[in-house]
Protein backbone atom coordinates (compact mmCIF):
# COMPACT_ATOMS: atom_id res chain seq x y z
CA UNK A 1 0.00 0.00 0.00
CA UNK A 2 1.01 3.60 -0.55
CA UNK A 3 1.93 5.86 2.37
CA UNK A 4 -0.93 7.48 4.32
CA UNK A 5 -3.23 9.61 2.21
CA UNK A 6 -3.42 13.01 3.94
CA UNK A 7 -6.38 13.89 6.19
CA UNK A 8 -8.40 17.05 5.47
CA UNK A 9 -10.89 18.85 7.69
CA UNK A 10 -14.00 20.02 5.87
CA UNK A 11 -15.92 23.26 6.55
CA UNK A 12 -19.20 24.07 4.82
CA UNK A 13 -21.11 27.34 4.51
CA UNK A 14 -24.71 26.15 4.59
CA UNK A 15 -26.25 29.32 3.19
CA UNK A 16 -25.25 32.83 2.26
CA UNK A 17 -24.83 34.88 5.40
CA UNK A 18 -23.72 32.00 7.62
CA UNK A 19 -20.15 31.22 8.64
CA UNK A 20 -18.41 28.06 7.46
CA UNK A 21 -18.69 25.34 10.05
CA UNK A 22 -16.85 22.10 10.56
CA UNK A 23 -18.72 19.06 9.22
CA UNK A 24 -16.14 16.27 9.35
CA UNK A 25 -13.02 15.06 7.63
CA UNK A 26 -11.86 12.95 4.70
CA UNK A 27 -8.72 11.60 3.04
CA UNK A 28 -7.42 12.87 -0.29
CA UNK A 29 -4.00 13.11 -1.96
CA UNK A 30 -4.34 16.82 -2.80
CA UNK A 31 -6.52 19.88 -2.25
CA UNK A 32 -8.39 19.62 -5.51
CA UNK A 33 -9.46 16.04 -4.91
CA UNK A 34 -10.24 16.89 -1.29
CA UNK A 35 -12.70 19.53 -2.52
CA UNK A 36 -14.36 17.12 -4.93
CA UNK A 37 -14.64 14.40 -2.31
CA UNK A 38 -16.02 16.95 0.16
CA UNK A 39 -18.70 17.93 -2.35
CA UNK A 40 -19.71 14.29 -2.90
CA UNK A 41 -19.51 13.36 0.74
CA UNK A 42 -20.90 16.33 2.67
CA UNK A 43 -23.16 18.18 0.21
CA UNK A 44 -25.15 15.49 -1.62
CA UNK A 45 -28.37 17.24 -0.59
CA UNK A 46 -27.45 20.86 -1.21
CA UNK A 47 -26.20 21.33 2.33
CA UNK A 48 -23.75 23.99 1.26
CA UNK A 49 -22.95 26.90 -1.02
CA UNK A 50 -19.22 26.96 -0.26
CA UNK A 51 -16.65 24.47 1.01
CA UNK A 52 -13.23 24.89 2.64
CA UNK A 53 -10.80 22.00 2.97
CA UNK A 54 -7.83 22.38 5.30
CA UNK A 55 -5.01 19.87 5.79
CA UNK A 56 -5.56 18.50 9.29
CA UNK A 57 -1.81 18.73 9.86
CA UNK A 58 -1.98 22.52 9.36
CA UNK A 59 -4.35 23.03 12.30
CA UNK A 60 -2.90 24.05 15.65
CA UNK A 61 -5.36 23.42 18.46
CA UNK A 62 -5.43 24.51 22.07
CA UNK A 63 -5.08 21.56 24.38
CA UNK A 64 -7.89 20.77 26.83
CA UNK A 65 -5.29 20.23 29.54
CA UNK A 66 -4.29 23.87 29.45
CA UNK A 67 -7.90 24.96 29.18
CA UNK A 68 -7.97 26.99 32.39
CA UNK A 69 -4.82 28.92 32.05
CA UNK A 70 -5.44 29.39 28.35
CA UNK A 71 -8.99 30.75 28.58
CA UNK A 72 -8.53 32.43 31.97
CA UNK A 73 -7.75 35.91 30.64
CA UNK A 74 -11.34 36.09 29.35
CA UNK A 75 -12.89 35.07 32.64
CA UNK A 76 -12.13 38.24 34.63
CA UNK A 77 -13.18 40.79 32.04
CA UNK A 78 -16.89 40.95 32.61
CA UNK A 79 -16.76 44.58 31.43
CA UNK A 80 -16.47 43.23 27.88
CA UNK A 81 -20.14 42.31 28.01
CA UNK A 82 -22.80 45.02 27.59
CA UNK A 83 -24.74 43.58 30.53
CA UNK A 84 -21.94 44.81 32.86
CA UNK A 85 -23.18 48.40 32.58
CA UNK A 86 -26.09 50.08 34.35
CA UNK A 87 -28.02 52.18 31.91
CA UNK A 88 -29.83 55.12 33.57
CA UNK A 89 -33.58 55.00 33.17
CA UNK A 90 -35.00 56.81 30.19
CA UNK A 91 -31.97 56.42 27.94
CA UNK A 92 -32.93 55.12 24.50
CA UNK A 93 -30.99 53.68 21.56
CA UNK A 94 -28.12 52.49 23.78
Amino acid sequence: MTEHTPLWEVFVRARRGLAHSHVGSLHAPDAELALRHARDLYTRRQEGVSIWVVPASAITASSPDEKDAFFDPAADKVYRHPTFYDVPEGVAHL
Binding site: T2, T5, P29
Partner: protein, 351 residues
Protein backbone atom coordinates in the same frame (compact mmCIF):
# COMPACT_ATOMS: atom_id res chain seq x y z
CA UNK B 1 -35.34 13.07 1.75
CA UNK B 2 -34.11 15.62 4.22
CA UNK B 3 -36.53 15.88 7.12
CA UNK B 4 -36.21 19.54 7.88
CA UNK B 5 -36.88 20.49 4.26
CA UNK B 6 -40.39 19.14 4.44
CA UNK B 7 -42.16 20.91 7.29
CA UNK B 8 -45.38 19.23 8.31
CA UNK B 9 -44.23 15.78 7.32
CA UNK B 10 -43.61 13.51 10.28
CA UNK B 11 -43.47 16.51 12.59
CA UNK B 12 -43.43 16.55 15.50
CA UNK B 13 -43.43 12.79 16.05
CA UNK B 14 -41.97 9.89 14.18
CA UNK B 15 -38.36 8.85 14.01
CA UNK B 16 -37.34 11.98 12.13
CA UNK B 17 -38.90 13.99 14.93
CA UNK B 18 -36.73 12.08 17.39
CA UNK B 19 -33.62 12.86 15.34
CA UNK B 20 -34.48 16.53 15.37
CA UNK B 21 -35.14 16.42 19.11
CA UNK B 22 -31.71 14.83 19.60
CA UNK B 23 -30.13 17.58 17.52
CA UNK B 24 -31.92 20.25 19.58
CA UNK B 25 -30.81 18.55 22.81
CA UNK B 26 -27.22 18.54 21.57
CA UNK B 27 -27.39 22.28 20.95
CA UNK B 28 -29.06 23.13 24.24
CA UNK B 29 -26.64 20.97 26.24
CA UNK B 30 -23.79 22.81 24.55
CA UNK B 31 -25.32 26.14 25.57
CA UNK B 32 -25.61 25.19 29.26
CA UNK B 33 -22.86 26.48 31.47
CA UNK B 34 -20.49 23.85 32.69
CA UNK B 35 -17.89 23.98 35.37
CA UNK B 36 -14.57 24.36 33.60
CA UNK B 37 -12.16 21.81 34.99
CA UNK B 38 -9.73 23.52 37.34
CA UNK B 39 -6.08 22.48 37.48
CA UNK B 40 -6.78 20.23 40.46
CA UNK B 41 -9.94 18.62 39.10
CA UNK B 42 -9.65 14.91 38.80
CA UNK B 43 -9.90 14.06 35.08
CA UNK B 44 -12.04 10.99 35.68
CA UNK B 45 -14.49 13.05 37.77
CA UNK B 46 -14.61 15.68 35.08
CA UNK B 47 -15.41 13.05 32.44
CA UNK B 48 -18.14 11.57 34.63
CA UNK B 49 -19.66 15.02 35.23
CA UNK B 50 -19.85 15.81 31.54
CA UNK B 51 -21.53 12.49 30.79
CA UNK B 52 -23.92 12.90 33.74
CA UNK B 53 -24.90 16.38 32.49
CA UNK B 54 -25.73 14.90 29.06
CA UNK B 55 -23.02 17.00 27.47
CA UNK B 56 -20.63 15.70 24.84
CA UNK B 57 -17.13 14.32 25.19
CA UNK B 58 -14.95 15.75 22.41
CA UNK B 59 -11.85 14.23 20.77
CA UNK B 60 -9.17 16.03 22.78
CA UNK B 61 -10.89 15.55 26.16
CA UNK B 62 -9.53 13.02 28.60
CA UNK B 63 -11.53 9.77 28.50
CA UNK B 64 -11.14 6.34 30.08
CA UNK B 65 -9.14 4.01 27.86
CA UNK B 66 -11.96 1.44 27.84
CA UNK B 67 -14.43 4.13 26.67
CA UNK B 68 -12.10 4.97 23.80
CA UNK B 69 -11.64 1.31 22.85
CA UNK B 70 -15.35 0.55 23.06
CA UNK B 71 -16.16 3.49 20.81
CA UNK B 72 -13.48 2.63 18.27
CA UNK B 73 -14.81 -0.92 18.03
CA UNK B 74 -18.43 0.11 17.80
CA UNK B 75 -17.95 2.97 15.31
CA UNK B 76 -15.57 0.94 13.14
CA UNK B 77 -17.94 -2.02 12.95
CA UNK B 78 -20.73 0.35 12.15
CA UNK B 79 -18.63 1.89 9.34
CA UNK B 80 -17.67 -1.53 7.97
CA UNK B 81 -21.37 -2.49 7.91
CA UNK B 82 -22.23 0.54 5.79
CA UNK B 83 -19.45 -0.30 3.34
CA UNK B 84 -20.22 -4.04 3.05
CA UNK B 85 -23.91 -3.15 3.04
CA UNK B 86 -23.54 -1.63 -0.42
CA UNK B 87 -23.07 -5.09 -1.95
CA UNK B 88 -26.47 -6.79 -1.57
CA UNK B 89 -28.23 -3.82 -3.16
CA UNK B 90 -25.44 -3.03 -5.59
CA UNK B 91 -26.26 -6.46 -7.00
CA UNK B 92 -29.50 -5.01 -8.43
CA UNK B 93 -28.38 -1.61 -9.77
CA UNK B 94 -27.80 -2.90 -13.30
CA UNK B 95 -31.10 -4.82 -13.24
CA UNK B 96 -33.43 -2.27 -11.66
CA UNK B 97 -36.80 -2.40 -13.45
CA UNK B 98 -36.80 1.24 -14.60
CA UNK B 99 -34.48 4.19 -15.02
CA UNK B 100 -36.18 5.92 -12.08
CA UNK B 101 -35.64 2.93 -9.79
CA UNK B 102 -32.04 2.67 -10.96
CA UNK B 103 -31.32 6.34 -10.23
CA UNK B 104 -32.89 6.02 -6.77
CA UNK B 105 -30.98 2.84 -5.96
CA UNK B 106 -27.70 4.39 -7.10
CA UNK B 107 -28.32 7.39 -4.83
CA UNK B 108 -29.17 5.10 -1.94
CA UNK B 109 -26.06 2.96 -2.33
CA UNK B 110 -23.95 6.11 -2.64
CA UNK B 111 -25.46 7.31 0.65
CA UNK B 112 -24.34 4.08 2.32
CA UNK B 113 -20.78 4.74 1.15
CA UNK B 114 -21.15 8.22 2.64
CA UNK B 115 -22.35 6.78 5.96
CA UNK B 116 -19.31 4.52 6.06
CA UNK B 117 -17.04 7.51 5.46
CA UNK B 118 -18.70 9.78 8.09
CA UNK B 119 -18.25 6.97 10.56
CA UNK B 120 -14.63 6.24 9.66
CA UNK B 121 -13.97 9.97 10.13
CA UNK B 122 -15.61 9.84 13.57
CA UNK B 123 -13.54 6.78 14.55
CA UNK B 124 -10.34 8.49 13.45
CA UNK B 125 -10.92 11.30 15.96
CA UNK B 126 -10.26 8.65 18.63
CA UNK B 127 -6.69 8.21 17.46
CA UNK B 128 -6.84 5.29 15.04
CA UNK B 129 -5.90 5.68 11.38
CA UNK B 130 -8.09 4.93 8.38
CA UNK B 131 -5.55 2.45 7.08
CA UNK B 132 -5.67 0.47 10.33
CA UNK B 133 -9.47 0.43 10.20
CA UNK B 134 -9.54 -0.76 6.60
CA UNK B 135 -6.95 -3.45 7.35
CA UNK B 136 -8.98 -4.73 10.29
CA UNK B 137 -11.97 -5.20 8.00
CA UNK B 138 -10.00 -6.80 5.17
CA UNK B 139 -8.19 -9.17 7.52
CA UNK B 140 -11.42 -10.13 9.27
CA UNK B 141 -10.26 -8.79 12.64
CA UNK B 142 -13.36 -6.64 12.96
CA UNK B 143 -16.94 -7.64 12.11
CA UNK B 144 -19.77 -6.04 10.24
CA UNK B 145 -23.51 -6.52 10.64
CA UNK B 146 -24.64 -10.11 10.06
CA UNK B 147 -27.55 -8.98 7.89
CA UNK B 148 -25.37 -8.24 4.88
CA UNK B 149 -24.38 -11.90 4.62
CA UNK B 150 -27.79 -12.80 3.20
CA UNK B 151 -28.31 -12.87 -0.59
CA UNK B 152 -30.61 -10.59 -2.62
CA UNK B 153 -32.40 -13.11 -4.84
CA UNK B 154 -35.08 -10.93 -6.44
CA UNK B 155 -35.88 -7.26 -7.04
CA UNK B 156 -38.37 -7.42 -4.17
CA UNK B 157 -35.38 -7.99 -1.85
CA UNK B 158 -34.30 -4.43 -2.57
CA UNK B 159 -37.70 -3.31 -1.28
CA UNK B 160 -37.51 -5.57 1.76
CA UNK B 161 -34.01 -4.32 2.60
CA UNK B 162 -35.13 -0.69 2.46
CA UNK B 163 -38.20 -1.31 4.57
CA UNK B 164 -36.90 -3.84 7.11
CA UNK B 165 -33.10 -3.57 7.16
CA UNK B 166 -32.89 0.21 6.90
CA UNK B 167 -35.92 0.36 9.19
CA UNK B 168 -34.19 -1.73 11.86
CA UNK B 169 -31.01 0.31 11.39
CA UNK B 170 -32.96 3.52 12.03
CA UNK B 171 -34.52 2.17 15.23
CA UNK B 172 -31.02 1.18 16.36
CA UNK B 173 -29.41 4.44 15.30
CA UNK B 174 -31.88 7.11 16.40
CA UNK B 175 -30.86 6.71 20.08
CA UNK B 176 -27.20 6.93 18.99
CA UNK B 177 -27.90 10.54 17.97
CA UNK B 178 -27.77 11.16 21.75
CA UNK B 179 -24.51 9.28 22.30
CA UNK B 180 -22.10 10.92 24.74
CA UNK B 181 -19.27 11.08 22.19
CA UNK B 182 -19.73 14.25 20.11
CA UNK B 183 -18.34 13.20 16.72
CA UNK B 184 -20.34 9.94 16.78
CA UNK B 185 -23.57 11.70 17.80
CA UNK B 186 -23.15 14.29 15.05
CA UNK B 187 -22.41 11.63 12.42
CA UNK B 188 -25.49 9.68 13.50
CA UNK B 189 -27.74 12.73 13.18
CA UNK B 190 -26.58 13.09 9.61
CA UNK B 191 -26.96 9.38 8.88
CA UNK B 192 -30.45 9.14 10.37
CA UNK B 193 -31.78 12.02 8.32
CA UNK B 194 -30.62 10.24 5.18
CA UNK B 195 -31.89 6.83 6.28
CA UNK B 196 -35.53 7.85 6.21
CA UNK B 197 -35.31 8.20 2.43
CA UNK B 198 -33.88 4.68 2.28
CA UNK B 199 -36.70 3.22 4.28
CA UNK B 200 -39.40 4.98 2.30
CA UNK B 201 -38.00 4.01 -1.09
CA UNK B 202 -37.95 0.35 0.02
CA UNK B 203 -41.49 0.58 1.35
CA UNK B 204 -42.63 2.10 -1.93
CA UNK B 205 -41.06 -0.73 -3.95
CA UNK B 206 -42.85 -3.32 -1.82
CA UNK B 207 -46.11 -1.40 -1.95
CA UNK B 208 -45.97 -1.28 -5.74
CA UNK B 209 -45.21 -5.00 -6.00
CA UNK B 210 -47.81 -5.95 -3.41
CA UNK B 211 -50.46 -4.15 -5.47
CA UNK B 212 -49.27 -5.63 -8.78
CA UNK B 213 -49.81 -8.97 -10.49
CA UNK B 214 -50.16 -12.17 -8.43
CA UNK B 215 -46.57 -13.06 -9.36
CA UNK B 216 -45.34 -9.66 -8.09
CA UNK B 217 -47.33 -10.05 -4.88
CA UNK B 218 -45.80 -13.47 -4.34
CA UNK B 219 -42.33 -12.06 -4.95
CA UNK B 220 -42.92 -9.32 -2.36
CA UNK B 221 -44.23 -11.81 0.21
CA UNK B 222 -41.30 -14.15 -0.39
CA UNK B 223 -38.83 -11.30 0.22
CA UNK B 224 -40.52 -10.35 3.49
CA UNK B 225 -40.55 -14.02 4.53
CA UNK B 226 -36.80 -14.27 4.05
CA UNK B 227 -35.79 -10.89 5.53
CA UNK B 228 -38.02 -10.71 8.61
CA UNK B 229 -36.06 -12.83 11.07
CA UNK B 230 -32.57 -11.74 9.97
CA UNK B 231 -33.81 -8.16 10.47
CA UNK B 232 -34.96 -8.95 14.01
CA UNK B 233 -31.53 -10.47 14.65
CA UNK B 234 -29.89 -7.14 13.72
CA UNK B 235 -30.64 -5.90 17.25
CA UNK B 236 -28.18 -8.43 18.62
CA UNK B 237 -28.47 -11.21 21.19
CA UNK B 238 -31.19 -11.03 23.87
CA UNK B 239 -30.40 -8.81 26.85
CA UNK B 240 -29.43 -11.73 29.07
CA UNK B 241 -26.59 -12.71 26.71
CA UNK B 242 -25.44 -9.27 25.69
CA UNK B 243 -21.94 -8.44 26.87
CA UNK B 244 -20.73 -4.85 27.50
CA UNK B 245 -24.30 -3.55 27.47
CA UNK B 246 -24.46 -2.25 31.03
CA UNK B 247 -21.18 -0.39 30.76
CA UNK B 248 -22.12 1.20 27.44
CA UNK B 249 -25.39 2.33 29.01
CA UNK B 250 -23.56 3.90 31.95
CA UNK B 251 -21.33 5.77 29.52
CA UNK B 252 -24.40 6.84 27.55
CA UNK B 253 -23.06 5.28 24.38
CA UNK B 254 -26.11 3.03 24.35
CA UNK B 255 -29.52 4.22 25.54
CA UNK B 256 -31.81 1.21 25.19
CA UNK B 257 -31.30 -2.53 25.45
CA UNK B 258 -31.33 -4.86 22.44
CA UNK B 259 -34.69 -6.31 23.43
CA UNK B 260 -36.29 -2.90 23.94
CA UNK B 261 -35.23 -1.80 20.46
CA UNK B 262 -36.35 -5.08 18.89
CA UNK B 263 -39.78 -4.69 20.49
CA UNK B 264 -40.07 -1.12 19.24
CA UNK B 265 -39.24 -2.30 15.71
CA UNK B 266 -41.84 -5.10 15.76
CA UNK B 267 -44.51 -2.72 17.06
CA UNK B 268 -43.77 -0.29 14.22
CA UNK B 269 -43.76 -2.93 11.49
CA UNK B 270 -47.12 -4.57 12.18
CA UNK B 271 -49.22 -1.63 10.99
CA UNK B 272 -46.89 -0.97 8.06
CA UNK B 273 -47.23 -4.60 6.91
CA UNK B 274 -51.01 -4.31 7.04
CA UNK B 275 -50.97 -1.32 4.72
CA UNK B 276 -48.71 -3.26 2.36
CA UNK B 277 -51.13 -6.16 2.44
CA UNK B 278 -48.23 -8.49 3.23
CA UNK B 279 -47.98 -10.98 6.07
CA UNK B 280 -45.25 -10.99 8.69
CA UNK B 281 -44.14 -14.64 8.78
CA UNK B 282 -44.86 -15.22 12.46
CA UNK B 283 -47.95 -17.19 13.52
CA UNK B 284 -47.35 -16.15 17.14
CA UNK B 285 -47.51 -12.45 16.39
CA UNK B 286 -50.36 -10.91 18.37
CA UNK B 287 -51.18 -7.84 20.45
CA UNK B 288 -50.65 -8.23 24.17
CA UNK B 289 -53.00 -5.86 25.94
CA UNK B 290 -51.23 -6.22 29.26
CA UNK B 291 -47.82 -5.28 27.90
CA UNK B 292 -49.24 -2.82 25.36
CA UNK B 293 -46.92 -4.41 22.81
CA UNK B 294 -46.90 -7.27 20.34
CA UNK B 295 -45.83 -10.75 21.33
CA UNK B 296 -43.63 -12.26 18.66
CA UNK B 297 -41.29 -15.15 17.90
CA UNK B 298 -37.63 -14.44 18.59
CA UNK B 299 -35.16 -14.87 15.73
CA UNK B 300 -32.84 -17.87 15.75
CA UNK B 301 -29.91 -16.60 17.80
CA UNK B 302 -27.83 -19.70 17.09
CA UNK B 303 -28.07 -18.77 13.40
CA UNK B 304 -27.08 -15.18 14.26
CA UNK B 305 -23.94 -16.45 16.01
CA UNK B 306 -23.10 -18.75 13.09
CA UNK B 307 -23.44 -15.90 10.58
CA UNK B 308 -21.40 -13.49 12.72
CA UNK B 309 -18.63 -16.05 13.10
CA UNK B 310 -18.34 -16.37 9.31
CA UNK B 311 -20.73 -19.11 8.34
CA UNK B 312 -23.59 -17.23 6.70
CA UNK B 313 -24.76 -17.72 3.12
CA UNK B 314 -22.59 -14.93 1.65
CA UNK B 315 -19.78 -14.14 4.14
CA UNK B 316 -17.00 -15.36 1.88
CA UNK B 317 -18.43 -13.69 -1.22
CA UNK B 318 -18.77 -10.31 0.58
CA UNK B 319 -15.20 -10.35 1.88
CA UNK B 320 -13.73 -11.55 -1.42
CA UNK B 321 -15.53 -8.78 -3.24
CA UNK B 322 -14.38 -6.13 -0.75
CA UNK B 323 -10.74 -7.29 -0.95
CA UNK B 324 -10.83 -7.41 -4.73
CA UNK B 325 -12.32 -3.91 -4.96
CA UNK B 326 -9.62 -2.64 -2.59
CA UNK B 327 -6.79 -4.23 -4.55
CA UNK B 328 -8.14 -3.29 -7.94
CA UNK B 329 -8.41 0.32 -6.75
CA UNK B 330 -4.76 0.44 -5.68
CA UNK B 331 -3.52 1.88 -8.98
CA UNK B 332 -6.00 4.77 -8.69
CA UNK B 333 -4.72 5.65 -5.22
CA UNK B 334 -1.11 5.35 -6.39
CA UNK B 335 -1.71 7.49 -9.48
CA UNK B 336 -3.47 10.19 -7.45
CA UNK B 337 -0.63 10.22 -4.90
CA UNK B 338 2.00 10.42 -7.68
CA UNK B 339 0.12 13.30 -9.32
CA UNK B 340 -0.13 15.15 -6.01
CA UNK B 341 3.60 14.66 -5.37
CA UNK B 342 4.47 15.94 -8.85
CA UNK B 343 2.27 19.03 -8.50
CA UNK B 344 3.75 19.75 -5.07
CA UNK B 345 7.33 19.52 -6.35
CA UNK B 346 6.48 21.79 -9.32
CA UNK B 347 5.04 24.39 -6.97
CA UNK B 348 8.23 24.24 -4.93
CA UNK B 349 10.35 24.83 -8.03
CA UNK B 350 8.15 27.71 -9.15
CA UNK B 351 8.31 29.36 -5.71
Amino acid sequence: MYGSDFPGEDAPGGLLGEVEAAEAALRSAAARDREVAGPDTDLADHFAEIVAADQKIEPRDWMPEAYRRTLIRQIAQHAHSEIIGMQPEGNWISRAPSLKRKAILLAKVQDEAGHGLYLYAAAETLGISRDELVDMLLEGRQKYSSIFNYPTLTWADVGAIGWLVDGAAIVNQVPLCRCSYGPYARAMIRVCKEESFHQRQGYEILHTLAHGTPAQQAMAQDAVDRWWYPSLAMFGPPDGDSTHSARSMAWKIKRFSNDELRQRFVDMCVGQAEVLGLTIPDPELRWNDERQAYDFTQPDYAELMRVISGDGPCNRQRMDHRRRAHHEGAWVREAAAAYAAKQASREKVAA
